[in-house]
């Protein structure tokens, strides 16, 4: 078991290094950061001095080595745009993104499970068909379009919800939260729906399919034969067995919810890490781009590692096969 965990951890580190190399080589095509920093009539000598002070003239290998050495110590340098340490900027923006991602996931889980169960149990009702239609919209409409549609309906036309930002936030230590103020809660609604809609439709379809599958199994038939109430059968037995894959998927998807928050955050000017990343790309702010990509890959790798380990704990059969496989 220990050997397995170690092997997986080493693989994870390999993935991180690969991501580092790929992202680092991509930055060379992002443009010249110095151009984004100074005005057009800045003289060539001044530009050259800036390039040198940033170490942009060193060979790529040297730049990469320096970058990896710093990253290993969680030093990601100073943002070119803001002249602040990237670590501080990311920490400052992290609560906004995490809060949004958690709310979106909760929305997706609740909505997806309820709609999924309903459309599995009452397959031919009008409402079930309506849910299917909604799920089609959620899967096919791009996020930014959903966001803009919501803004025009609920902010511009009806004036109920704010179109941008986080509202008022409360500071709890270094964490900031919008969950404790009315304007903060209102500001969370539309971005959460926008971000969670795709996951919701995914979960709904999954629950529906699983539920239909489970309802055909023997133990449900036996439960009926035992004379249990429909409610007990549906929710006590069928749903509980449906939830195992749902939780797995939702857990794995949490990483992509954070990563895909980029688009939602841009549409709603949500001051999170995704927005920071988009601004960084536009301004060729390499330190922020690098740190963000490393962080997202770290989240993915960690989630996958944890899931792998949990699987082997839950299912001993996997353990033996995996350890024999290599």
């Amino acid at each position: 078991m220990l050997a397995f965990t170690l092997r997986r951890a080493i693989q994870a580190i390999g993935v991180m290094i690969a991501v580092g190399i790929i992202s680092f080589s991509m930055f060379r095509f992002a443009g010249d950061p110095v151009n984004q920093m100074v005005s057009m009539d800045t003289s060539g000598a001044e530009r050259a001095a800036i390039r040198q002070s940033l170490g942009l003239d060193d060979p790529v290998i040297v730049q990469f080595g320096r970058y990896v050495a710093n990253a290993a110590q969680f030093k990601f340098g100073i943002s070119y745009q803001f002249r602040l340490p990237v670590t501080n900027l990311l920490m400052e923006r992290m609560p906004a993104t995490l809060e949004l991602a958690i709310c979106a996931t909760i929305f997706a889980m609740l909505g997806g499970i309820l709609m999924g169960v309903y459309s599995a149990l009452r397959r031919d009702t009008l409402l079930a068909h309506a849910f299917q239609a909604i799920s089609l919209i959620g899967i096919s409409l791009p996020t930014f379009l959903i966001g803009i549609l919501l803004i025009y309906l609920f902010s511009v036309t009806l004036g109920w919800l704010p179109s941008f930002g986080r509202g008022d936030v409360v500071h709890i230590g270094w964490w900031t939260t919008g969950l404790l103020t009315l304007s903060g809660l209102k500001a969370l609604i539309m971005p959460s729906i926008t971000l969670g809609l795709f996951q919701m439709t995914l979960i709904m379809r999954l629950v529906r399919a699983e539920m239909l599958e489970v309802m055909r199994t023997d133990y449900i038939r036996f439960a009926r034969a035992r004379g249990l109430t429909t409610r007990a059968i549906h929710f006590g037995h069928a749903l509980r067995n449906t939830l195992v894959p749902v939780i797995t998927v939702a857990g794995l998807q949490f990483g992509s919810v954070i990563a895909f928050a980029i688009i939602t955050e841009t549409v709603f000017q949500w001051p999170g890490m995704g927005l920071l990343f988009v601004q960084a790309v536009q301004n060729v702010d390499i330190p922020i781009m690098a740190a963000y990509l490393m962080m997202v890959s770290l989240i993915f790798v960690t989630i996958n590692l944890v899931v792998d380990i949990l699987y082997t704990i839950v299912d001993p059969r996997l353990r033996s096969t995996v350890s024999r496989a290599h």
Binding site: D41, F82, I151, T266
Partner: protein, 533 residues
Amino acid sequence: MSVRHGLLAMTLASALALAVSPASSQTLRYANQGELKSLDPYTLNESTTHAHLGHVYEGLIELDKDLKVIPALAESWETPEPTRWRFHLRKGVKFHNGDPFTADDVVFSADRVRAQGSNLLTRVPADVKVVKVDDYTVDFILTSPNPILLSGWDTWYIMDKKWAEANNVVAPTPVAATTPSYASLHTNGTGPFMIESHQPGVKTVFKVNPNYWQKPQHNLKEIVFTPIASDATRVAALLSGEVDVIEPVPIQDIQRITSSPNATVLSGPELRTIFIGMDQSRDELLYSSVKGKNPFKDTRVREAFYKAIDVELIKNRVMRGLSTPSALMIAPELYQLSKDFTRPKADPDGAKKLLTEAGYPDGFEVTMDCPNDRYVNDAAICQAVVGMLARIGVKVTLLAQPKAQYFAKVLKPGGYKTSFYMLGWTPGTMDSHNVLHDIMGCRNDPKDPNRGESNLGGYCNKQLDELTDKVLVENDIAKRNQLIKQAYEISIKDWSYIPLHQQALAWGVSKKVKLVQRADNQVLLYWANKQEE
């Protein structure tokens, strides 16, 4: 359960707190496409940053609503000799922290703005000596006469010497700072507003300065600035009344805003001139079907290109009427004799004839470089140009890229790698000399390595350079304007560039707000008045 109750109670409490707080009718909320990147006034030479910081800091002079120079921290000035400028400073002015403003601060700011790391090095030329005469008099001693010494001084903001020394920010924060600096996160100016809080890229709050030295022309107590990068969201925020002022308004949304009940669009000509340039220096173009020679070296080809492009059509179709076609490479607001020039009419048939005479009866192929996120409808303008040139047989391949990649390719550090390009230029000094020197000057001048730095096509005419040098030192305004005119005439005779237009600037403004729009596109809210609710 108790946790939930606690949360509920806190939510209720904050909701109540919101309900009882007084209606803040004099809080102005402003959203811009870009963020405020540094609070150090010498880090970035960029107009949006200058505009933001202009609420907090002030220069010796300022520009009024019509861009005329008026006294600010200097009450008056005179030139006892052509090379000596004497400034009499305003008395009784205090910085936000209470320090008095004196001549020492001016001398200090002159040193700081010229120090290593400043992006505004040329505001005060390096060979100028700044001498304190007494506490409220400062002399600027020049090595040669300079009629445009004051240009750009409206954004050379005066800083507090004592404060800078106390906070270890005597040196300017360089644009490539490797450590954070106090001055890039804090301010201490003499201006009408103070920065109360600043979260870079998220939100900045400006509070009114109660001890301002002159009567405010606004009725605000607070300005809340939020950057909103997404065009649709910025417009939606204005329409829903969540912000009062937005800049810029995308052209396609102007109609929707003007037809809405609670907002309108302020538009006017901007100072930036959009133009097209051609590589006239290489012996063979980098990106063209013509081999062994450079067609743009032939004046007739440049003239043909000029006449093939119909700026009126671009104005009507691409810019939806929001541009001012230009005969010169400078905006009419910045040069008094602009009226003397008229733009030749588009003439595709004449252009075709010229091209035939030059030996290209069937035209040729060339690649055009164009930014797609820098100027208003930039890529669309380039597409229109491609279509117009197709009419005279020139096949243009369009390479429209984001500005980060575009500038890296075409500017000097990238090796001027372009054959045919579109660019926009606002002279930083608000004066023709900058255009003649940076855009039209010959490159590789051994005496002046910065000449022609942004002359991407390498146009060169020594006669023009001689005039440019005379323009620099001529103190007599009328004579100077004539010299500039001669220089522009040479450039036009050579068909050196194809000026297109000055794009329009468009701000979205709530109907509750009265605002002054200045042609340099600086959003200055100290002239804003908001109707009380």
